[in-house]
Each structure stands twice: as structure tokens, then as C-alpha cells.
Symmetry: C2
């Protein structure tokens, strides 16, 4: 039983990239926070031979006393059948739900590799890549003229989270997000920064705890005025006042991930009818 105490092996087996399988596995395993785990990813396991290679790995680990887990999103009968012979608990993540859907739709699922292809819906894929080009071109206010083409304009002080959020919105959701970095000039004005005036309905404010901002900026430019706690407090206070005056929707990014900030932006776009669903 040499395996006791070792992080338990978690195999992620997919006939494609394995991103979905790993997401589900992590969503499940996060509910057992005390368990030490190690992930072993086996993407593109798309035939019985590849599955058998995984089974052999699992057997070797089991023989040395480890207790592997297998999570798979494959829908190929021969791959599933092979995996079921491994000395491990197999989490077949799709099959049971496919059976339920077969009943709902009164038609059999189309099984086999390649069914879930990221580029299958290639119009959606192209719009993601276009949105990414867009976000890169307009990053940090260098593309004022493109505000008119934006789905959303993220407004906030430097390093409040605008760039990661806009890239994430583009890559994951095909949303065209621009940034407007608030700076000294903007705080001396009462109303909106001039380039934003006609796009008020697209604005989304990002705020952040000044101490967190201070830490982030210090990593970038240690000892600078830009990174000082006084400057950070001043900028965040003025930005918050501006957001309040304009009645902008605001998200605090201090302890939010890009996924969470993006979810807030998407919810806003949906509420205002600019995005379906």
C-alpha cells in the first residue's frame, strides 16, 4: 500500500481537448477540499487503442497501491468499454444525461469523436477571434474611434482589471469589449470623459480596494508615485465618485476572478437586451 499519503491520481480522459472533462472534475472535487490530488490529462483519447494505453497506466498505478479516479466525457462505446475495465472508479460524465436527452428529443444522440468540436459552430468561433482582435486593438484607450463598435466599454483606473476582463470576454464569449483607463484629467472634470459621452449606455465601471491596487502597482513600479497608497486611494475615490454620479453599473474586482467580473458584464448586457439569453 505504498500509495497511501500520495496525492490521488485523477485521470482526465477525453476524445477532444479535455477542457470540459477537467472543468466538471474540478467542480466535483472542489467539494472535497482536504483530499490531495494530482491530475493526469489524457486528451484526444479517441479510439480503443488509446483508451487501452490509459488503462495500462491506471493498472500500473493501482498495482503500486494507488487508487486512481477516471473522469471522462467520451461518448464512444468502445472507449468507454475499455475504460470500464480499469481498476479505478470511472466517472462517465455524459452517458446518463445523453440517455435522458434522447427521451426528451425522441431521437438518438449522434455519438463518436468530433461530435463536440470547438469550431463546429464556426461563425461563433470567428466572432470570438474577431472580438479578440478588437480587444487587443482597443486595449487601454488607444482605439477611441472603435468605441462605437463595442458591445461594452470597461472604465476604471490603471490595473483595476480591465484588460484581463476584456480579453476573457472576447476569447470565451465573443463580446467586443473596449477599455477606458481613467486618469488625472478625467478626475478634474464633472461629467464623462469626452470620448465616452455618446456611449454612456455601454459603460461598465470596475473598482478595486486601494490597498490591493497599491500591491499590484508596487509589483509593477516599486516606489513610484503611481504605486503609492495615497495615489491609489485618491484615484479609486475619484473613480467611485464618477461612477456614482453617472449611475454606472460597477463591479469590485478586489477578490473577483475574471470569470466573475465577466459574468457581471454579461448579466448587464442581457438585462439591457443587448445580448440574448
Amino acid at each position: 500500500m505504498s500509495g497511501w499519503g500520495m496525492p490521488r491520481p485523477v485521470f482526465i480522459v477525453s476524445d477532444h481537448t479535455g477542457l470540459t472533462a477537467e472543468n466538471i472534475a474540478r467542480a466535483l472535487l472542489t467539494h472535497f477540499p482536504g483530499q490531495p490530488l494530482r491530475y493526469l490529462r489524457r486528451p484526444f483519447t479517441s479510439d480503443a487503442q488509446a483508451a487501452q494505453a490509459v488503462v495500462s497506466e491506471v493498472e500500473a498505478l493501482a498495482a503500486s497501491g494507488e487508487r486512481p479516479l477516471i473522469f471522462t466525457t467520451t461518448t464512444q462505446p468502445d472507449v468507454l468499454e475499455a475504460l470500464q475495465t480499469a481498476p479505478a472508479q470511472v466517472f462517465d460524465l455524459l452517458t446518463e444525461n445523453l440517455r435522458l436527452l434522447e427521451g426528451e428529443f425522441a431521437e438518438p444522440p449522434q455519438l463518436g469523436a468530433g461530435g463536440h468540436h470547438d469550431m463546429q459552430d464556426s461563425e461563433a468561433y470567428l466572432s470570438r477571434m474577431e472580438a479578440l482582435d478588437f480587444a487587443l486593438a482597443t486595449d487601454d484607450g488607444i482605439g477611441d474611434k472603435q468605441y462605437g463598435l463595442s458591445d461594452v466599454i470597461l472604465v476604471g483606473v490603471s490595473r483595476a482589471g480591465k484588460t484581463p476582463t476584456s480579453l476573457f470576454l472576447a476569447l470565451q464569449h465573443g463580446i467586443r469589449a473596449s477599455n477606458y483607463p481613467l486618469a488625472e484629467d478625467d478626475f478634474e472634470r464633472e461629467g464623462l470623459p469626452a470620448p465616452l459621452e455618446q456611449y454612456r449606455s455601454k459603460l461598465f465601471g470596475l473598482t478595486i480596494d486601494p490597498r490591493r491596487l497599491h500591491a499590484i502597482r508596487t509589483q509593477r513600479k516599486p516606489g513610484s508615485k503611481y504605486a503609492s497608497i495615497e495615489q491609489c486611494e485618491y484615484e479609486v475615490r475619484r473613480a467611485s465618485a464618477l461612477f456614482a454620479r453617472l449611475g454606472l453599473p460597477v463591479k469590485d474586482t478586489t477578490s473577483a476572478s475574471v470569470e466573475e467580473i465577466a459574468a457581471g458584464v454579461l448579466a448587464l448586457l442581457r438585462q439591457s437586451g443587448r445580448l440574448e439569453g
Copy 2:
């Protein structure tokens, strides 16, 4: 039965962002390609009251003859219980597998909202944000000195897919990816471009069908020499020859998504032992 013929409503209900729930739903529904669907996302449904609001929506749609589906990753008993009262097939995506895991680990899962928090593992999150800064700083070869700090260096002609791939690797996987854009000078040399010489083991080549490259570049600079089919054919041919001469791992991006290209890079990093799992 006014609902017949309408795209069928697919509710995505999560106590968090809903990304995992939507990924699973899409992985399942892609096996029924002929079914018209519309997605209705209800993230942050984290208590019985919020769940009841979703149930009311479902009831209204069902009353007008539609047949909604509900996909949920919630693990909160009160939310699940409420959803089960809706006139819709509910796909409870985690519960059954949590029960299996409870048996495997011989301990009960920690249920409730916030269990699956993107920033819970904040070291991993910070490394993703750092990798993103890194990718942005080194995009398109402007950061030669940072090649030493890179996990991988993507090499290819302009618009072969380097930038989206490096951003995706950073945002999703915390991988530090740099780019090296191959240009005229590089093709006149026999060996590696000078800045890359000492980092050969980190190189990953991206190639693309010249006609596809021509189409992409034409969108960007119509009628230019840069976009001409002759120039595209020349560059791709010379790049491929260079990759072959150096024995680099190469991925054809012509009909691959960033997810797929990234999976190829990750597989390489794992094979060479530079990345666990």
C-alpha cells in the same frame, strides 16, 4: 401548443458564474445537432428565492406550450429541491457523481454556494494573471529578453494564430507563452533566428494553409503584397521548411480552434516533463 417550432429553452442555472454548467450542457446538446435551442443563463442562483424566480420563468414558458430544459451544477439542497418542482426536465449535473465520490473518499462533500470559487486556489489564479501580463508584454516578439522566462515560444508567420493561442494558454492554464513572428530575414538564414538559438527546446511551430492565411490577411490589409496568395505561399513554405530542418513540433492551425492548438502545446509540455499531469 404555440411553442412548437420555437427554439427550445435551455436554462443554465448555477450558484456561481455558470461557465461549467454551460460547458457540460453544450457538450451534451452538441450530440443533437438538429435541435433548435436557445440558452437562458441564470448565474448566481444561490438561494431558494432565486431558484423560485427561475421556476416561475419556466412555468410561464411551459404554460405557453414550450418545453424547457434545466441544466444545473448547484449542490445546494434547497435550490435543487425548488428546481425539481419546475415543469421541465432537470439535469442535475453533479449530485450523482458527488455521491460516488463520497464513497471513494469516505467523507461527505462540503456542499453549498461558493464551494467552487475561481479564486479559491488563489496562487493558481495569480499565476494565470501573471502569465497574461507576460503574454501581452511579449506579444509578437517585442520582448526578446523574456524568452528565457517563457514556458513555450510559439513560432510562425504573421496571423498564423500565435497571439490568440498565447493569450488562451495564459488565461486558462497559467502558461507563459511568448511569440516569435517569422519574417523575411529569418527565411534567408539556414539555422534558427538569432534570438531563439538558445531556447530551441521551448519552440513550437504553428503552420496554416496559405489560402486561409491569404483570406485572413486580406481582411486586414486588402490588396497588399502582405496579403497576396504568392506571399502567403512563400512564407508558409519557408516556415515549414525551417520547422522540418529543426525538427520542431508543429500544429496546423487552419481548422483548429485555440482550445485545440493550446491542447497540443500542453501535451508537448507534459511529454517533455516541463508541466505536470
